[in-house]
């Protein structure tokens, strides 16, 4: 290993942790009580659920695959899925704005949005 290699490794780690730190602080400051969980499949929105109501919903796809979304105690997670890698199931629970769970094989994305945008919908409901 040359000295340049160590500089490269150090720089990469510093960049990674800086980005991580900034996004974490931003996410924490932009999350409030009225956060919503949005589920999209292949870019199309399949549903919106308030993060403060416990629920469970199954999403089935034409080819027989499925994902089960569960919301409880203000957290969202994929509790069950048909995909082979199970990355979405192992993913930690999410509850901050812009956190996502992705199931690449099923093209399903679960994401959290802060309350501001969805306030109108909540009132309308």
């Amino acid at each position: 290993m040359k000295k340049n290699d160590l500089i490269l490794i150090g720089a990469l780690l510093i960049i990674a942790f800086t980005i991580l730190g900034i996004t974490r602080v931003w996410q924490r400051n932009n999350t409030d009580e009225s956060a919503m969980v949005i589920v999209t499949v292949d870019g199309q929105e399949m549903g919106r659920f308030p993060l403060n109501q416990d629920m469970e919903q199954r999403f089935d796809f034409p080819d027989g695959s499925y994902n089960v979304l569960r919301i409880y105690d203000g957290n969202a997670e994929i509790s069950e899925a048909s995909c082979p890698d199970q990355i979405c199931v192992k993913h930690h629970k999410i509850h901050y704005t812009n956190e996502t769970i992705v199931c690449l094989p099923n093209k399903l994305v679960v994401e959290i949005t802060g309350g501001e945008v969805s306030d109108v919908d909540t009132i309308a409901n």
Binding site: D5, L12, A16, T40
Partner: protein
């Protein structure tokens, strides 16, 4: 470049090895809940090829590997992610090697990081979800760690392979 029998046999051997290592990775996935995160075992073969038989052959090897693995174990979408990762990672490794500022370990770290970054960029476009960018720091860290390990291993292999070719 002239292809002699020895070189053809060596290239075939490396393709088979890359294929098997990809299969091992399918069997033992790094499952920590981050999409696109991979150990990239097959990258050992690509790095060794880059340092023993040159860029052109190594590029060919990388593409053949993606096609073989995609057709055998994955679907079209997976092949697309894999291809983006492989191409970006290879180009960056090639450039990094040409600058001669980094050793084989540094080049492998570049490869590991950009493999993950390439995959997440394609995923952002395919899923139309820019929020995936939040996985970037995790992917950089994982790519760096696996890159160091693979770089050291590749260095050891290269020393021995070069002896056999001399």
């Amino acid at each position: 470049m002239k292809m002699n029998t020895r070189k053809i046999a060596y290239l075939g051997l490396l393709i088979a090895l890359a294929f098997v290592l990809s299969y091992v990775e399918v069997l033992l996935p790094l499952n920590i809940g981050i999409p696109g995160a991979k150990v990239g075992l097959a990258n050992i073969v690509i790095v060794v090829a880059l340092y023993t038989i040159g860029g052109k052959n190594a590029a060919m090897l990388s593409l053949v590997r993606v096609l073989l693995v995609g057709l055998t174990f994955g679907n079209f979408a997976m092949m697309l992610y894999s291809l983006a990762g492989a191409v970006l990672s290879f180009v960056m490794m090639y450039v990094a090697k040409r600058t001669k500022k980094l050793s084989i370990t540094g080049v492998s770290v570049i490869g590991g990081v950009f493999h993950n970054v390439g995959q997440i960029i394609v995923a952002i476009f395919v899923l139309e979800t820019s929020q995936l960018i939040y996985y970037l720091p995790f992917l950089i860290v994982i790519g760096t760690i696996s890159g160091v390990v693979i770089g050291i291993l590749s260095g050891m292999i290269c020393r021995r392979v070069k002896v056999a070719f001399a």
